[in-house]
Point group: C2
Chain length 87, copies 2
Amino acid sequence: MKDLFYTKDKARGKERTFLKLVEEVGELSEAILLNDEHKITEEIIDVIAWIFSIANLVEIDIDEVFFLKYNNSCPRCKNNPCTCDSI
Amino acid sequence: MKDLFYTKDKARGKERTFLKLVEEVGELSEAILLNDEHKITEEIIDVIAWIFSIANLVEIDIDEVFFLKYNNSCPRCKNNPCTCDSI
């Protein structure tokens, strides 16, 4: 993803790239309200693409940091499956 | 991720799970405003975790659909890097 969009992302900057993410989150909201599974899939992919763009702008390796936090157990209760008493 | 959280995600449902995603998007907004790179990293990971939860609820294989759309080229202009005339 970085080779595809980094130049444009860099020019846009992380604050305006975040606004693009929010736009896609809004479209995902609409897809969920419509219960349109094809559109939900499309919008999930678009949200992930924009999150990758923000991650590239702050030079995060998502795979590395994600698996540091979610290493086959819940980061709070440490269980799998999670047994946290949360919503 | 599915084995960790699916039971709780299923009980919460996709509309309320989307609200959890929005909560984390708000926290990412704050982290970007503060320009706090550690917090930005944390919140990016949390947004991804909630997107995975929604994807699991609608039984999407993210890897599969993501690489169908972003197969080493921009889905609109088909170039790498993207040359779309968009923001």
